[in-house]
């Protein structure tokens, strides 16, 4: 398993990725009610570095319909503490698979409306292949491991969103292929 790539630009390059949390932006996780600015997040991902040749980002939104039913409001609940630590764990796994320079996740909780941003994943690496793959891996694992739960509201009432087998299958694709 590769260690998380630590370019000399990081002043705490001998610390573990976990030790970097809160001190440097190598790995960063935020669970928040507030909306986020993807341009600012991407700039922060690159702050103080010129080693990156590639940044891949993903933004998830509240769809106006899910499984054929209109959705006006989505309420997101989470398990404070475990949510953050599980996402850090996912970022560390990504760092073990690809030579990443930075990886960040922002995930909103609380009451969101159709069209709102829910989640942002940003990954920086020297080359695009690692950035693309790690971004997808982080998102696939986040959907299966991070303790968030969605409740949708629409004209038909409200209901908890059920976990989808497709999401488990997407995460399982990465199993047994550490060099993917």
């Amino acid at each position: 398993m590769r260690a998380c790539a630590m370019a000399t630009k990081w002043p705490f390059s001998r610390r573990s990725p976990v030790a970097e949390l809160g001190a440097q932006a190598l790995l960063a996780v935020s669970v928040q009610t507030a909306d986020f600015d993807v341009a600012a997040l991407q700039r922060n991902l690159l702050a103080g570095a010129q080693a990156e040749g590639a940044v891949a980002c993903f933004t998830g939104y509240v769809r106006a319909a899910n499984v054929g039913q209109p959705v006006s409001v989505m309420e997101l609940e989470h398990y404070p503490g475990m949510t953050e630590s599980s996402i850090v764990n996912i970022l560390e796994q990504a760092c073990g698979r690809w030579p990443l320079l930075a990886a960040s996740v922002v995930h909103r909780v609380g009451r969101l409306r159709a069209g709102d941003q829910i989640v942002w994943v940003g990954v920086a690496s020297a080359h695009r292949e690692a950035a693309f793959s790690a971004c997808e891996f982080i998102m696939d694992y986040l959907k299966n491991e991070a303790p968030f739960w969605k409740r949708e509201e629409g004209p038909q009432g409200s209901h908890w969103v059920e976990a989808r087998a497709e999401d488990s299958a997407r995460a399982a694709r990465w199993d047994g292929d550490p060099s993917a």
Partner: protein, 84 residues
């Protein structure tokens, strides 16, 4: 003391976000704790907590199978996650 937390659908169905139980040897593992909660809570709690898709976590780490508990542990019961 054991801190027990419930989330999402489980919290709603039990009408309970969490509770604390005095530590004792009869709830010294996850299965014992779950059985105690089912006994104390009655039919509804038994029905909700024994569903096959209930996920259990100890000190904020998911546990598959049974696990030893210690005084001061935090145990959580929640449904499959649906974030992202």
């Amino acid at each position: 003391m054991l801190k027990v937390l419930f989330f999402a659908r489980i919290k709603e169905e039990l009408a309970c976000a969490g509770l604390e139980l005095p530590w004792r040897e009869t709830i010294a593992d996850l299965d014992q704790l779950q059985a105690q909660l089912c006994n104390d809570g009655g039919t509804r709690w038994r029905e909700v907590l024994t569903r096959p898709n209930v996920i259990r976590a100890v000190n904020q780490s998911v546990v598959t199978g049974n696990a030893r508990l210690r005084d001061g542990d935090e145990v959580a019961f929640f449904p499959p996650v649906t974030g992202g």
